[in-house]
Symmetry: C2
Subunit: 211 residues, 2 copies
């Protein structure tokens, strides 16, 4: 399993990538405004002028960093995908490949979603506006989970998969579980993240069979 | 847990509900055409005239059954939700509340998705076009899973949940698993449904912990 999160992901338009810290801050302001606008109104009902107004930057400044509304949306999807990864990464630094770490990762994800509910609307709308970015987000996320499960199996603390398909199914199943628990308990509900994560973790740890 | 799939779901606009078998067939032709058009072009790029052309019905006939493009979309979401339920229902008639039945249900769902890939595009777009229908689809699906798990626990073949939150987390986790396995292996890939379902079922049956 390739450790995809260590690959350097190029910005969507490298010719326009900021070259200075100040430029990076301006690009960040635009992305944050895009998150707020796209996350509230959706892609079709958001114009570049709404983004620049919220970001408090001039229209010309926008075009210094992005060529179009589509391009800032694609950059935002990549940014949200990275934000999700970063929200979970710290709790994985200890005990990667253990079921306890997976529980902490799920709890961190649920907290992140509760605080950034727009993440669903943006990534879900990417299915229509930026299908390649949508698919990359889930493929990269599943690859990271698969990698952790492989570490857990190698360390002897998780069941080894029977074959590559088994390994891939596990990763996609756990990702789907996390995404839907985030939707139900992070966006639509306000249940305690730790309690939800503990319940989710019991399912993938012990299964449902009566022994 | 309420057995929601036994409730009679009213058509979206009961004043326009067909009163004859012929009317029901015409409404069905319109819904099938809507599925093909919305599923290919998406909501924004589909007009009522494309739907009526594909359905081979007059524009006036369309308005006999639906008031607007939004309304036919809402009816389609409800219809797709029902199609998913019906695709899975036959394999659940035997052994409801067992892990074997859940495996068969997942395999049936994966086969359905492989044959009707538009179902994802339509239900996912409902998040933006028909948020209430989107949420109802997942709440109803989760309620059906929760009901089956409750039967399994009552029959002593599945672990009992610790509390109502645990029961609800299990249902949403399993639904999320099924949805993402359908996306990965039904829409984006063509792996054997039975093999994928078996692998997914091992995860929820036995868990990942080394005993």
């Amino acid at each position: 399993m390739v450790d995809r999160h260590d690959e350097t992901v190029p910005l969507t338009n490298s010719a326009k990538a900021p070259r200075t810290a100040r430029g990076e801050r301006t690009r960040r302001k635009i992305l944050d405004a895009a998150r707020s606008e796209f996350g509230t109104r959706g892609f079709a009902d958001t114009g570049i002028t709404e983004i620049t107004r919220t970001a408090k930057v001039a229209l010309g400044t926008f075009y210094t960093y992005f060529d179009s509304k589509e391009e800032v949306f694609r950059a935002l999807v990549q940014d949200m995908s990275e934000q999700v990864r970063l929200a979970v990464a710290p709790v994985l630094s200890d005990g990667r490949g253990t079921l306890e770490a997976e529980e902490r990762a799920l709890a961190a994800f649920l907290s992140f979603v509760g605080q950034h509910q727009q993440v669903y609307r943006i990534i879900d709308e990417a299915e229509f506006v930026d299908p390649a970015g949508f698919r990359a987000h889930y493929e990269n996320t599943a690859a990271r989970i698969a990698e952790r499960l492989a570490e857990g199996a190698a360390a002897g603390v998780m069941q080894s998969p029977r074959d590559p398909l088994d390994a891939e199914v596990r990763a996609w199943a756990i990702m789907g579980m996390n995404v839907f628990l985030g939707l139900r308990f992070g966006v639509w509900g306000e249940e305690d993240s730790a309690a939800v994560a503990a319940a989710g973790n019991r399912l993938i740890r012990d299964g449902l069979a009566r022994s």
